[in-house]
């Protein structure tokens, strides 16, 4: 793969422009493995990153996959996702709440899935 790592070589100006100068998402609700699903199609005039997210998330797609697809850092991606979520253009399937130790039933499901690989 010859593609440069996202973000690192971008000018800060680009990242500033993409988010309209915002540095934080409205909430930290988007985990790196929150699954994002488009609820609408891109419309003309939409910011290109927003349109790209809507095309990417026709099937469930994790926040890190969106970040990798956009070539943007995770924190910037979260801000863009919050925009779309606030306007109802995407829905978010958050991971089950995490406690110090994971749920026994989930672990059993993971084991079954791994053993059948």
């Amino acid at each position: 793969m010859s593609r440069a790592r996202p973000g690192r070589d971008d000018s800060p100006d680009r990242l500033y422009t993409v988010t309209g100068g915002r540095t934080r998402a409205g909430s930290d609700a988007f985990d790196v493995v929150t699954l994002v699903v488009s609820e609408s199609d891109p419309v003309p005039g939409m910011q290109s990153e927003h349109a790209a997210i809507l095309r990417m998330c026709r099937f469930p797609t994790a926040v890190v996959e969106v970040a990798a697809g956009l070539g943007l850092p995770v924190s910037i991606t979260r801000i863009l996702l919050a925009d779309l979520h606030d306007t109802g253009r995407i829905s978010a399937r958050h991971p089950r709440p995490s406690y110090r130790l994971p749920d026994h039933d989930i672990l059993e499901q993971v084991l079954v899935g791994l053993r059948s690989l």
Binding site: V32, T61, P73, S75, R93, S98, Q109, L114
Partner: protein, 230 residues
């Protein structure tokens, strides 16, 4: 026209076969996927993290990064002002669809110091971690083992076979100062079957911990989230 309404199977439990085939072809998840899970593979440079991710992942590993600032505690030698320190961590990840709803994401993360600033932001709620070690360079893994213990993250140690001099498990345990209950396994990160066994050993370890844990009301892990940098 054929009636499509006759197909009333409950897609929340059994995804449509044609959709599963299509999503496999497209490398997209099934529409029923709703629970993302995380396992983090930590290790030094060149130890085989990406190789391990690739061997078990259903997608070619992708790469992304996170960038943050930390209010610097050190004083700049020349200016005498506290510097803001940018922390950028790049990481690879892969994916395994476990069933109709659960999707496991595997993150290959560098073990060096700056990475741990971002642990809570990226990997809070992880099921657990695999510390991947090269037995020729065991000291590279000291810091990772120490930080995982500090964070209370369950982990296993997996020795990637580089054909170096054989060490006994006891020698490795002693060199890493591993607690007895931490599983130590040997693997070939290039092998899908071997990588799969590493993940299974971690999840079996987690199950043992959950089963033996005293019954108590679970508390969410407190998170301290540093400010993202633009």
């Amino acid at each position: 026209m054929d009636s499509v309404a006759s197909d009333i199977s409950d897609v929340s439990d059994v995804p449509d076969v044609s959709e599963a085939a299509e999503s496999s072809h497209r490398q997209t998840l099934r529409s029923t996927a709703d629970n993302g899970l995380k396992i983090v593979i930590v290790g030094g440079f060149g130890v085989g993290k990406t190789t391990l991710v690739r061997s078990v992942s259903e997608i070619r590993p992708l790469n992304t990064e996170e960038t943050m600032t930390q209010a610097g505690e050190h004083i700049d030698d020349t200016g005498g002002v506290a510097a803001k320190k940018a922390t950028t961590v790049a990481f690879d990840f892969g994916r395994i669809s476990l069933d109709a709803r659960n999707v496991l994401y595997l993150f290959g993360a560098p073990g060096q110091e700056r990475f741990w600033f971002l642990w809570d932001r990226l990997f809070a709620g992880t099921l657990g971690a695999v510390v991947l070690v090269d037995t020729r360079r065991l000291s590279d893994s000291w810091y990772a083992v120490d930080r995982l213990e500090h964070h209370g993250t369950p982990f296993v140690v997996a020795c990637n076979d580089f054909g170096g001099p054989a060490h006994t498990p006891d020698q490795i345990r002693e060199a890493l100062d591993l607690a007895d209950e931490v599983p130590l396994v040997f693997c070939d990160a290039r092998s899908r079957e071997s990588g799969k066994q590493v993940l299974i050993s971690l999840v079996e370890h987690l199950r043992t911990l959950v089963t033996s844990a005293p019954r108590s009301i679970p508390q969410p892990i407190p998170q301290t989230v540093p400010e993202p940098m633009l």
